[in-house]
Each structure stands twice: as structure tokens, then as C-alpha cells.
């Protein structure tokens, strides 16, 4: 995978370099859209795309437009790539039930084959991030300590250092990451769903992404060494706990202690 991605990136980077040397502004703008390992929809058959198109028109076109060109209710999907579709539909965020501060995860509406067909269709519209290969999702090859460092710098401010989630402005939030599949975590990083920034491979390499996933899966599976983690929410949860449960037990004991036996 590494060799593959380098080979793909290499000519593009060279082109970008050359262009920048000559005319900085224009060259930059062109390159910007294509750094994210633009990859044509490989591995999808024409019938997948066909079926996907039908599903799209039936379920998505109301907001995203008949040709996925976007409307006031939904963004254009040209060039978002298969990964974006797989994430949004695969976590149930799309189709959205109602407009709100952000699309939220809910029961998935389509089966795997349909999601794959939808992905195929959207991928056919323009180059974008593709669905990650198994190799970059293999946590046995990742380094959780390195992943933790990357996670703290790039992710913890929104998702919390223990991946317990956190608040954004005006009702939006970064969700907790426990229970999210390796593939969906990876896809979220490369596509930047909703207000999440895009972490393209030029920012965080595929290997670093694998490390991050390894870290997340390790802290999720090992649990807290100290006992119940209380949502890993830190001092607020701890304070609330001692004021309710802690002082509650103590008051119960003081009442027993000063009451008169029968």
C-alpha cells in the first residue's frame, strides 16, 4: 500500500512542485483539489454504478440534486469520493431525517451492497478519497503510542483525550469514538465529515492513521485500570460523583450513626 500510494502521489507532487515554481497562486489552486490521492473508482462495475444511480435518485437527490450537483439543502457530492459515501451512509448519518446542527449517527438505512453501489455511483462522478484497504486498518501493524501522540495533537481537542467526545459551537459536537469501526474512523479522517477538518494523507500519513486507529482500539478494549471510567469525562464527572454518591453514602451513615436504635 505504501509503495502504491507513493507511486500515485509522486507524479502529482512533482507536477505541483513544477507549477509552484512558475506561478504560485494559480498552480496552488489547481493542486489543492487533487492532493488527496485522487483515485478513480476502481473495482466497481458499470452495473454497480447503475444501481447506485437509481438508489441515489430515489433517496438522495431531493437534497443533493439529481446529478449530485448540490442544492440549498445539501452540498454537491462531485469529488467527495467513495469514502465519504461509505462513512455517511454506513454510519446512518445519511440520509438525514431532518435538518439540524449536524447529521447524527443512527440506524443504517441500507445494506452493504447498496452502500457499495451508492459509493460506486458517487465515486464515478469525480475523483475523491476511496474506501481504505484492509492493510491500513490492520491494528496489529500499528503503533498505539505513536498513534496516541498524533491523536492528542490533531483529534483530542474535539474528541477528548480519551475519545469520549466534546462540544462544538451552536449545538454541534464531536462524537465519542468508542464503537466506531476502523474503516469509518479512517474514512472520517480522509473525508472530514460535517465540520471535522480533512486530514488528508499529506497531513497525516496512512501509517499514522493506522496508528491512531490502533491507539483508539487499544484504549477502547483495555478499559480503565482504575475501575468504572464514568464516561472518561474528567473532573466534572468526578466532582458530580463525589457530591452525589460520595456524600450521599456518608450522609446515610451519619443518619444511622446518630439515630437511636429500637
Amino acid at each position: 500500500m505504501k509503495a502504491l500510494s507513493q507511486r500515485r502521489r509522486h507524479p502529482l507532487a512533482a507536477v505541483a512542485l513544477l507549477l509552484m515554481g512558475l506561478l504560485i497562486t494559480g498552480g496552488l489552486y489547481m493542486a489543492a483539489g487533487s492532493v488527496n490521492e485522487a483515485k478513480a473508482a476502481t473495482g466497481y462495475t458499470a452495473s454497480d454504478i447503475e444501481e447506485g444511480n437509481k438508489l441515489f435518485i430515489a433517496n438522495c437527490a431531493t437534497c443533493h440534486g439529481l446529478n449530485a450537483e448540490g442544492s440549498v439543502d445539501g452540498p454537491s457530492l462531485i469529488g467527495v469520493g467513495a469514502a465519504a459515501v461509505d462513512f455517511q451512509v454506513g454510519t446512518g448519518r445519511m440520509p438525514m431525517q431532518m435538518q439540524g446542527p449536524q447529521a447524527q449517527a443512527k440506524p443504517v438505512q441500507f445494506d452493504d451492497e447498496q452502500i457499495s453501489q451508492l459509493s460506486a455511483y458517487v465515486a464515478s462522478l469525480g475523483a475523491g478519497p476511496s474506501i481504505p484497504l484492509a492493510d491500513v486498518l490492520d491494528t496489529s501493524k500499528g503503533n498505539s503510542a505513536a498513534g496516541g501522540t498524533v491523536f492528542r495533537v490533531n483529534c483530542a481537542m474535539c474528541h477528548n483525550a480519551a475519545a469520549a467526545g466534546g462540544a462544538l459551537t451552536r449545538g454541534k459536537f464531536a462524537p465519542a469514538l468508542a464503537g466506531v469501526s476502523e474503516k469509518h474512523i479512517y474514512e472520517a479522517m480522509v473525508t472530514g465529515p460535517q465540520n471535522m477538518p480533512v486530514f488528508s494523507d499529506s497531513n497525516i500519513t496512512p501509517e499514522e492513521k493506522r496508528d491512531v486507529i490502533t491507539f483508539l482500539k487499544e484504549i477502547e478494549s483495555q478499559g480503565s485500570p482504575g475501575g468504572a471510567a464514568m464516561g472518561s469525562l474528567g473532573p466534572v464527572a468526578e466532582g458530580l460523583f463525589i457530591w452525589t454518591f460520595g456524600l450521599g453514602i456518608i450522609i446515610a451513615f451519619t443518619i444511622w450513626l446518630t439515630s437511636r436504635p429500637s
Binding site: 446542527p101 498505539s144 503510542a145 505513536a146 498513534g147 496516541g148 501522540t149 492528542r152 495533537v153 483530542a156 481537542m157 474535539c158 474528541h159 477528548n160 483525550a161 480519551a162 469520549a164 467526545g165 466534546g166 462540544a167 462544538l168 459551537t169 451552536r170 449545538g171 459536537f173 464531536a174 491507539f215 487499544e218 484504549i219 480503565s224 485500570p225 482504575g226 475501575g227 468504572a228 471510567a229 464514568m230 472518561s232 469525562l233 474528567g234 473532573p235 466534572v236 468526578e238 466532582g239 458530580l240 460523583f241 463525589i242 457530591w243 454518591f245 460520595g246 456524600l247 453514602i249 456518608i250 450522609i251 451513615f253 451519619t254 443518619i255 450513626l257 446518630t258 439515630s259
Partner: protein
Amino acid sequence: MATTTEYTPKTKTGKIANFVDERTGGSAMVKEFGRKIFPDHWSFMFGEVALYTFVLLLISGTFLTFFFDPSMAHVIYNGSYNPLKGIGMSTAYASTLDISFDVRGGLFMRQVHHWSAILFVAAVSVHMLRVFFTGAFRKPRELNWVVGGVLLILAMAAGFTGYSLPDDLLSGNGLRIIDGVVKSIPVIGSYISFFLFGGEFPGTVVIPRLYSLHIMIVPAIMLLMIALHLFMVVVHKHTQYPGPGRTNDNVVGFPVGPVYAAKAGGFFFIVFGIVAFISGLFTINAVWNYGPYDPSPVSAGTQPDWYIGFVDGALRLMPGMLGNFSFEWLIPLPWGWNTLSLNVLLPALVPAGIIFTLMFVWPWIERWVTKDSREHHLLDRPRNAPFRTAVGVAGVISYSVMWAAASSDLIATHFLVSLNDVTYWLRVLFVIGPILGFIVTRRLALSLQRKDREIVLHGREAGIIEMSPEGGFSEKHEDLDVYKRYNLAVFEDRKVIPAQPDAAGHISAKEKRRGALSKFFFEDRVAPVTPSELAAAKAAHGHAEVEGSEQDSIGH
């Protein structure tokens, strides 16, 4: 000492006592304390909880010092916690991880220490609320109230210095906030910051410095204050709730030996047991999650421990800009421009300053307004001092609003509301909450007093409906026994004392203010029932049943 008259002890206890007494004079102590009386009430136990958690803090803290290394020297972690293996960090953080993962029972001790710490401050707070709302701070206990207030501040200082020691990401960002607050202090702020951190933030000396404060100076002063506090408790003897047989001149309760000592001693083990239970089953301060301190990352939900929360919340509530008006001011001075960050300075110092100042001087304010210099050993039921209870609730509300603001982000995510709206609402509540709280509490206290009056005058509702020969329905009331009646009918009745002229017949402005305050506090009052009122009510009651008076008939 015992040389002139040879005292020969007969029992074994006597022999030991004699040995000790001849060398220390310990018998006087036993005489003084052995049968000293302490009243028994559940609300009197919070001071003990505070004392016992402090003992637990000393025990667990001592254990932790044997393994903790407060150095900020850079090391590569190679302990047994896999998700941090090979990561560069400070020695302080690495040794905290070692305590957690490579010292048997170390994690347990860390959790005992931290749970005890936040329970300690909580117990101190509840103890102080109890003292305030029952009026136990009044003469002769004003100074002990002040010592208690100092202990609360010291507890917060001990807590904050300890919170910072592991040098993890959470506490490091907490220190950075402290740095930002310190820098906002006019004229000397920047220098204090440099002196605290030994140069620029974060430097390499702040953890060892906080460590000496945390394990030596702060606990030493606390021990001194606790000794003073307990000494004064012994001098004053404990207060008690009013009741039959309990007067301002006596103490009713159990003697230290054996009952009170057994209960108090047993209670230490109970508190220990509760803390051990929580520490065994509930994680606190998961430093391994936060990672080592690094100035670049930050975690969502970065909050201080609960007792610093109200300051953090005040910082969050304060708007930095109102439209285009910034609270960061540039002050023109002869030598140029200086910066005054009111958006930091005001919330960091003013609310805490007001709360603590009012807390410290309240005994004197109350004494001044009520012109009451008598000794008080009998407590007030909170309802019987509506003004004080209302002031206390107003204070609790303004504290709690700031406290809630410190978790505005968690309120937003857990109740699915907008973070910004939470802040807006809390800003409104911060202004009107205490005022509403004062009014509602005073009304509530007065109604409860009126209800007590009703019960004394007309007895308790027995739950039995009777039909009169005329067909009217009324509920049967049972008279109170003398003890219950005494409980409800006898309390301190505070009346308005209008401004008094001084010797020259002149009313000073200060005295006018006092008169106005007195009027504000005591204008609305419910007087205790007098025996003659009760007699009159009884006489009327006989009629009432015949005529179906308002108070007794159903559906009034």
C-alpha cells in the same frame, strides 16, 4: 510531681495512668476530656468527615511521596502502559505512571488520595454551609469561623498544587490558564508569572516548586489551623439544636468516653471504608488518558477539579467583547500604553473575592445589624432565620451558576443543547438567580414558620375526617405533646431595631444604614406562638367545630 503524698494505684489501668501522670500530668487531660459531652446530630458529622479525609490524605500522600519524583527532566517512558511506551515526557509524569502501573496498590493509593482530596473539600464546604445556615458562627465562635474559612482556602490551594503535580496534559493546561490569569494582573502580573515558572511558561521548575508547597508548607499550615480549630471547639463546647432540656447554658449529648469516642472513632473507619470502596471501583484522574504535558495539544472537556470550577466558570461566563467593545483596555500612561485585561481580571478575582470577603465578615455584619452581642450556643433552624437563610441561598446560587458554567460544554453535549445558549442562559441566571433565590427562600422560610405556628395553635392533622351534626366536614386535629410544642414554639425572635440616636441625639449615617438593613432583614417576620395565643386559639377552636371555621373545614 507526686512526691508529697504517695498514691498507690490498685488496678492495672491505675498503674499505667500513674506512670504517665507522674511524667506528663495526663490525668488532667483525662479529667477534662474523658466525660466531656458532645451533642449528637447527623449534621454535626461533616467536620469529622473533613478531619478524617485529611488523615487519609496524609496517609496516602506519604505513601505516594516514596514513589513520586517531581522532576521535570525529560525521559522516555518505558514502563508497562503500552499506549505511552517510547513517548518522551517529564520524570514527574513517568513516575506517576509507574505508581499507577508498576507499583502494586499504587493506583489504589493514588485513587484514595485524589478521591479523599475532593471529598475533603466537599466535606469542608458542607460543614461550612451547616455552620452558616444554623448560625453556629455567632459569638463566641466568630474566630473559629474565620479559621474554618482559611482552612477552606488552604484546602483549595492544597488541591490545586496537587492536581498539577503529575504534569499531564490536563493539569498542564490548567497551569497555563493560571499563567494567563496571573499575567492579567496589572503592573506585577508578568513578573509573578516569571517568578512562578522560573522564566517563561512552562519552564522546568514549576512542578518541584508546587511539590514543596503541596507536601510541606500547605499541609503544615493546615495542621496548625486544624489544631487551632479543634482547640477552639473544645474551649467553646459544641453548639446544639434548641429543644426541651437544651438551653443556651448547657450541652446535652453523650460523653466522650465511651459512646462519643466509639462513634467518632468508628466513623473514621467508616469514612475510610467508603473512600476505599470508591477508590477500588471508580477511576479518578486517569492521567494515562491525558498524555504528558505538551503546549500544543489540548483535550475537549478541559476542566479543573470541582473546587476550582467556580473560578473557571466565571472565566467562561465573562464576555470578552460586547459588540465592538472589548474588555481588554489599553491604558494611556505618560510612558506609553499599558494593557488591562478586564475580561480576565474581573471574573478571576471579583466573584471569588466577594464570596470569600462576605463569608469572612458575615458574623460581624449580622452582629452589627442585630445589635446582638450575646453568646449563642443554641442553633437556629434555618427557617427561623429567614434573612440569613435567604442570604446563604443567594450565595449558594451565585456560586452554583459559576460552577455549572465550568461544565457548559458537558451540559451542551449531554442535554443536546447549544453550547452558546448554555452560556447565555447562565449569564442571565448569574444576574437574576441570586435575587430570585433570596426572595423565594425568604418566602419559603416564612411560610414554613407559619406552618409551624398553625401546628402549634391547632395541632397536627390527624388524617381523620369528622362530620359535624350540621353536616360540615372537618379534619380532626391532634394536639402536640409539650416536647414537640416546645420544639416548634420556642425560637429566637428577631425584630427590626430602627436606627438609634447616639448620646448627642444624632443618628449617624452608619446607624441609618444599619437601621435600613435591619428593616430589610426583619420587616417580615413570624412571631413564635405565646402560651396566651395558644389558650385563645383553644378557646376559639371549641367554637370552630360548631361553626365550621375556615381553618378547619375542608376546601378552604
